[in-house]
Amino acid sequence: MTFEEVFFYFLAAGAIVSALLVITRRNPINSVIFLVLNFFFLVALYLTLKAQFIAIIQILVYAGAIMVLFMFVIMLLNLGDEKRLTDRVTWKQFVAIGLSLAFVMQVLYIVGFGETAEMKTMSAKAVDIGTVEYIGKELFSYYVLPIEAISVLIVAAVVGAIVLAKRKFD
């Protein structure tokens, strides 16, 4: 195995283990910590794919902002340990197991039969595509309409949140 492969398997294993720990911890704060750890493994995987911008934004936005918000809410609501769900068996669990199995089959199919020659080598443009400059240029030229639409949507969400919060104080 090459150095890159060893590195990849290490990161992938880390990401899977930390993701499993997120859903098996009973204390929600521990879950948050493992989710942040999972993000760091993902960041390293992005970096191996030469996607620096996505990598750093993953830390900045997800680990640094959204998960902090999660932690805030958990701390303020003072959530205790999760209750065990095993004593009740519902039809939802069977649907969930079925869907997960279907997803696993898809992944296995892709790994087993879907590999093309293109996927085996990294595109020569990969280095350029990952940079902030390239993403910025694309976002503000080719994708300018979607970007503006999303900004309007976010402004609407912020205004909505303020209106809801203000009603309580008036």
Binding site: I29, V36, Q52, I56, A63, G64, T131, V132
Partner: protein, 346 residues
């Protein structure tokens, strides 16, 4: 391959050693300067002028009993100070502390990680640093700790916005996210005389950034998280011994890193103005660069310390009001003005 790793390793070891020594001595500087301002003597017994005081402090902290409250979450209680210090030290990786130096026929860049997303890296790590304090407060299972950590998280999240937006001005002027490019851009001269430091090019951004950096490092006048009269010790109320020591180190490491970032982004980094007009050998030039950087960082650090002992603490609502109603619009205005001027200059 091996050579690159070795050079990187040597750089990391040197920078860490210098940084940790600087942290220890900035505690000493803080105590001496506060004593001077309050007309006291300060620590002057251990060694000449009390210069060995940091060693005595460290030894004391190591040998103190480590107490963990009974209802605390032990693993997270242990983890929190480690996160705080790690984040502070890791941020230094992208800061250029000199230009290049030629050693043994090899040209070495004086920066640990020369990445082209340096500015974003700093912002990302400053957003991570909330975890150390938030987890410390929550895992202690003490209401004062929790209050302190919630305040501090709210404060850091609020001021991160103005911090990030202030930096946007610098990025617009430089046209790159590389920190060595930011410094290079400041080696020019405005109107042929004034060094083109970003604090002259971006005065509004500079003020916004410095204030936000003070808030991010939880320093006076923004040290609400550990406001002693209200919160005992804030987030580190339940910490003793070495773990308290780690928080203490982390606070000063954050200060030094913040000073280094201010120096790099706004005060010309390692560049000594007018030195390029005199003919000096490249080796001497590199050393002058490093010294300039160290002196600038020290001056910013001393400024932070003097501010702490000069200005009283804000009230919590004033702090939030300042962050959201003054700093945030100012940073936006700065971006607008910068964009307008850049457009007119084109």
């Amino acid at each position: 391959m091996i050579e690159t790793l070795l050079i990187a390793f040597i750089k990391i070891v040197i920078v860490l050693l210098v940084l940790l020594t600087a942290v220890a001595y900035s505690v000493y500087a803080e105590r001496r300067i506060s004593a001077f301002i309050q007309d006291r003597l300060g620590p002057n017994r251990v060694g000449p002028f009390g210069l060995l005081q940091p060693i005595a402090d460290v030894v004391k902290l190591v040998f103190k009993e480590a107490i963990v409250p009974r209802n605390a979450n032990k693993p997270l209680h242990d983890l929190a100070p480690v996160i705080s210090l790690t984040v502070a030290l890791a941020t230094f990786a992208v800061i250029p502390f000199g230009n290049t130096i030629t050693l043994f026929g090899e040209e070495v860049k004086l920066i640990i990680a020369d990445v082209n997303i340096g500015v974003l890296y700093i912002l990302a790590f400053s957003s991570i640093s909330v975890y150390g304090i938030a987890l410390a407060g929550w895992s202690s299972n003490n209401k004062y700790s929790l209050m302190g950590s919630l305040r501090s998280s709210a404060q850091m999240v609020s001021y991160e916005l103005s911090l990030g937006l202030a930096v946007v001005g610098v990025i617009m002027v430089t046209g790159s996210l590389r920190l060595d490019q930011v410094v290079m851009n400041q080696t020019n001269y405005l109107f042929g005389v004034l060094p083109a430091w970003n604090c002259f090019v971006q005065p509004i951004g500079f003020i916004t950034f410095v204030v936000a950096a003070f808030a991010e490092t939880n320093r006076q006048p923004f040290d609400l998280p550990e406001a002693e009269p209200e919160l005992v010790g804030g987030f580190h109320t339940e910490y003793t011994g070495l773990k308290f020591g780690l928080f203490f180190l982390a606070e000063y490491a954050h200060m030094i890193v913040a000073s280094a970032i201010i120096t790099t982004l706004y005060l010309g980094g390692w560049h000594l103005p007018y030195i390029d007009m005199i003919d000096v050998s490249p080796m001497l030039m590199s050393i002058i660069g490093i010294l300039t950087f160290v002196i600038k960082v020290t001056l910013v650090l001393l400024f932070m310390i003097v501010i702490r002992w000069t200005i009283p603490r804000f009230r919590y609502d004033q702090l939030m009001g300042l962050g959201w109603k003054v700093m945030f619009p100012m940073a936006l205005l700065n971006i607008f003005i910068t964009g307008l001027i850049l457009l007119l200059l084109q």
